[in-house]
């Protein structure tokens, strides 16, 4: 009988992001706002982006979620601030592929996000880890592309 690897789910870096999440301050003048919902638990996340041309000048990740989604959102705020929209999209796509098991974590450079790959051992929690990133990919970046063209 295997014991479940709890410490792989709640690694120290994840708990640190959870206790001290980055990017929690609402932006005064967001160019883009997108909301995501995890229908299985009802958790909601709101992403705000401030754009400078095609670059993400600032980002906020708002809403109350579990430790996994909060840490993931915090990492998102750190990772995409200052990146171009295309770079942010590439990170999000890479992370999604890894979490869906379509790419191995060692094949790609995920930075801090690597700590979240332990979540794959808890299939029902993968959605928690992806919530902010799916919101970024499916909603925020699409809106940002339009805002950038305007």
């Amino acid at each position: 009988m295997s014991t479940i690897p709890l410490d792989e789910l709640y690694r120290e870096v994840i708990l640190d992001h959870h206790r001290h999440p980055r990017g929690r301050k609402p932006l005064a003048h967001p160019d883009v706002e997108a909301a995501g919902l995890n229908p299985s638990c009802g958790d909601e996340v709101t992403l705000q982006l401030e754009l400078d041309g095609d670059r993400i000048a600032d980002v906020a990740v708002l809403g109350r979620g579990c430790a996994v989604s909060t840490a993931s959102g915090s990492m998102l705020a750190e990772l995409i601030r200052g990146r171009t929209l295309d770079e942010a999209r590439a990170i999000a796509e890479r992370f999604r592929e890894v979490m869906h098991g379509e790419a191995a974590p060692e094949e790609v450079d995920l930075g801090d996000l690597e700590a979240l790959t332990g979540v794959r051992k808890f299939p029902v929690r993968i959605k928690c880890a992806l919530l902010p990133w799916v919101t970024l990919l499916d909603d925020a970046l699409a809106r940002a592309g339009e805002a950038d063209r305007d």
Binding site: M1, S2, L6, C41, E44, C66, A67
Partner: protein, 412 residues
């Protein structure tokens, strides 16, 4: 009939799944409100049906078909008797409680017009909200919802009665809330609804099998519940009513079994309740469910209820001892069904459920299919522990230990 000691090993021993381990620890199953575990007698009856009697029902002449039909119809009679309902002709067998509510909502569609009103509560399970949203969209009917006190979990009964008026066609409410545990005054609501000429549907998914429930005393026209929350198999639910009331529903699913005579371009319906049972039903589940009701009656429903009240008291006391938890719903253990949902500001419900599971403790985390209810509470999700005849006080202690462990894990 033998008498069983509710908190004893005698009852637990009848549920084989309780002997298994989860992550190397004994299973502590506190998710009975989602589905109750099944006694050996139910498992055996379902297998015996498949092994010895399997055949399609109603049309067959041969011996097996007759036996299968006997088992299937036996379940209908047993459920009517268990609930003190007028008779088996008022009992429709469905896939689950949700299907039974949909059957009523769609069956009433032809009687509703724009501006007609449907009165519900905000504490309903999505199963008793969404079918009415769909019905309102199709007919132009208006939905009205009675509130509840977020502190006590108590239904705003006066408010609900005020919502009922001359345009009200249906009043629907949950008997026992699957999150708050609140036991609603169904009879009082039903009386007001009937004065206004409205029909009443009660969602009894959390009460049947957990407390004495008598169909005539509730005063509802339609009572729905699922076998699997009542120690029976999945894939079987019930709409309990009277033949006269069922007569008002249009059958919405067409097919075999539900007809009397079929032409290429016309058909007449079978008699009630068969006209609501198109296609081959879950006969094995129906053959097995009476064994669950036998066990409940052997223990005695008042004893089952006393046991769950004692567990409520133990749980509220134990969780309060932990400190910092917000328990939702009524304080009085006798005023709630057999469940306690709570919010721990230190540990999100999803983290809580994952972590306590590593200690073998099965609880439910999330909105429990009651998002509007959670909005009233100002919460997105809660953690819920729920009990049945097999739950012990030691398991509540195990839950408390696991919650403390979750807090340590999260560094809270």
């Amino acid at each position: 009939m033998e008498t069983l000691l509710v908190d004893g090993e005698a009852v637990r021993a009848r549920f084989p799944i309780l002997g298994r381990t989860v992550h190397g620890r004994p299973l502590v199953y506190l998710d009975t409100a989602a589905t109750a575990q099944r006694p050996e007698a139910v498992i055996e009856a379902e297998a015996a049906y498949s092994r010895e009697h399997n055949a399609n029902v109603h049309r067959g002449i041969h011996t097996l078909a007759e036996e299968a039909t006997g088992a299937y119809e036996g379940c209908r009679r047993r459920v009517a008797a268990f609930l003190g309902a007028p008779g088996p002709r008022g009992v429709v067998m469905t896939r689950n409680a949700t299907a039974a509510i949909n059957l009523v909502a769609r069956g009433l569609e032809h009687t509703l017009g724009a501006g007609d009103e449907i009165v519900l509560t905000v504490m309903e399970h999505h199963a008793n909200l969404v079918p009415w949203i769909q019905l309102a969209r199709r007919t132009g009917a208006v939905l009205r919802h009675a509130g509840f006190d977020p502190e006590t979990g108590e239904l705003d009964l006066d408010g609900m009665i005020r919502l009922i008026g001359p345009r009200t066609r249906l009043v629907g409410l949950v008997h026992v809330s699957n999150v708050l545990g609140t036991i609603n005054p169904v009879a009082e609501v039903a009386e007001a609804a009937h004065r206004a000429g409205a029909l009443v549907l009660v969602d009894a998914a959390q009460s049947v099998g957990h407390m004495p429930v008598a169909y005539p005393e509730l005063g509802a026209d339609f009572l729905v519940f699922s076998a699997h929350k009542c120690y029976g198999p999945m894939g079987l639910g019930f709409l309990v009513s009277t033949p006269e009331t069922l007569e008002r529903l249009e059958p919405v699913e067409g097919g075999g079994e539900m007809i009397e005579r079929v032409e290429l371009d016309a058909a007449t319906w079978a008699e009630i309740p068969y006209r609501f049972e198109a296609g081959t039903p879950n006969v094995a589940a129906a053959a097995a469910f009476p064994a669950a009701l036998d066990l409940l009656e052997a223990i005695g429903l008042p004893a089952v209820r006393e046991h769950e009240i004692a567990l409520n008291a133990r749980a509220v006391e134990t969780l309060e001892r932990l400190g910092g938890l917000r328990i939702v719903g009524p304080r009085d253990p006798a005023a709630r069904g057999g469940l306690v949902a709570f919010d721990d500001p230190l540990v999100h419900p999803h983290d809580m459920a994952t972590i306590v599971d590593t200690r073998g403790v099965a609880v439910r985390a999330g909105h429990h299919c009651a998002q509007p209810l959670h909005r009233v509470l100002g919460l997105v999700a809660t953690t819920r522990a729920s009990w049945g005849v097999y739950t012990t006080g030691d398991e509540i202690e195990a839950l408390a230990g696991a919650i403390a462990f979750a807090r340590r894990t999260m560094g809270a």
